[in-house]
Amino acid sequence: MQNNIIALIEEIKRTANGLSQINIMEVCGTHTMAIGKNGLRQVLPQNINLISGPGCPVCVTSISDIDNIIELAENPCNYIFSFGDMLKIPGSKSSLYKKRSEGANIKVCYSPADAFDFAVKNPQKKIIFIAIGFETTAPLTAALIEKAYETKTNNFFIYNTHKIVPPAIEFLLNSSNKNNISAFLCPGHVCAVTGSRPFDFISKIYGKPAVISGFSAEDILKSILMILKQIKNNKPEVEIQYDWVVKENGNPIAIQYMDNIFDINDAIWRGIGNIKKSGLVLKNKFRNFDAKVSFALKDVLVPEPRLCSCGEILLGVKKPFECRLFGKSCKPDNPVGPCMVSSEGTCSAYFKYEKYKT
């Protein structure tokens, strides 16, 4: 395997030779982690610049949502089930971690099915699952909502923050004068569900190369090479490197689940703002399962922390090193902005793996 990697790096160097500066955005937080962990930024030729994108769902969850979830946790009748990453995020006043240490019913789950099973076994308790994530995770929530509807499990709710990736990429492309993205490394597990077609616009409308990549060092290097070849041959298209997992039409059953349960609506991405048609909301038929509706919660506009550059970092305009707070007052054990909170956040990944590079 090591030999493959050395050969790939050599081929990348040869192919990149003579090309001008190429900015490749990795949209997915799991790619950001894999790139950092394997030191890939350090082995690439100087004219290849990898930029991290907005693909960490925890990072783009608005402060208002965090405050609402904390409010739900303050009621002793409620049981909150969440993926672990959400707990550390500071809201405007507190965090789920703090609330849990004060005695709130907050449980970390590996699978959303754990939350549903708990609801079935405890009909007198109100269970709220924090539904977060992109197309990889949204079908799981959809399957459970369908189950809750069929079994009339009326004590099961979701606090829904699900978002979808293609509109965010389109938003980035429309503001590309600032971030200057030449090509995209597309998220492998999102595409395992959606397939490659929803990403076709990247090459067809915007004329940029895009490769759907797996998550090993070899996968990522192969994908970068595929992008370089597209640039060299001036033939931008959406290619699938992760082809043993990603099919052109994705997982049609998972897509059907999403279509049955969710409508598409505008959504607020923390640090970025409103992105049109980028959010998933429960269809009217299922609105009773929506914690925001059933517990009458509201969206309140909360300002971002002062001097925090997360917005520009999520858009690929700035690198973490260019933020005044990075590594000074903002560190993983005391994060100021969302990109430092989640382990897959751009700033957290840079702090862990790339902090010595200036």
């Binding site: 395997m1 099915a113 994530g133 990889t136 995770t137 799981l140 997992v245 997982n251 059953i253």
Partner: protein, 70 residues
């Protein structure tokens, strides 16, 4: 967040399946891949199989994970 790992399906039980993920036996939900059969490899995200995958490549990846672990 979008982490997913390959695993081999051992036994199917309605909407659930027992899988072997790098030696660990886990019970997962297969609502999203209803056509899955014992012996297939699936990619698992947060307790749900999200896609049936190519057997040969899955085995290669599992080998690679094993090498990392060693």
């Amino acid at each position: 967040m979008c982490v997913a790992v390959p695993a081999k399906v051992i036994k199917i039980n309605g909407n659930n399946a027992e899988i072997n993920s790098m030696g660990v036996i886990i019970n997962i939900d297969i609502s999203l891949v209803p056509d899955v059969a014992p012996g297939d490899f699936v990619i698992v995200h947060a307790g749900f199989a999200i896609q049936i995958i190519d057997n040969e490549e899955a085995q290669k990846t599992l080998e690679m994970f094993k090498n990392y672990a060693e």
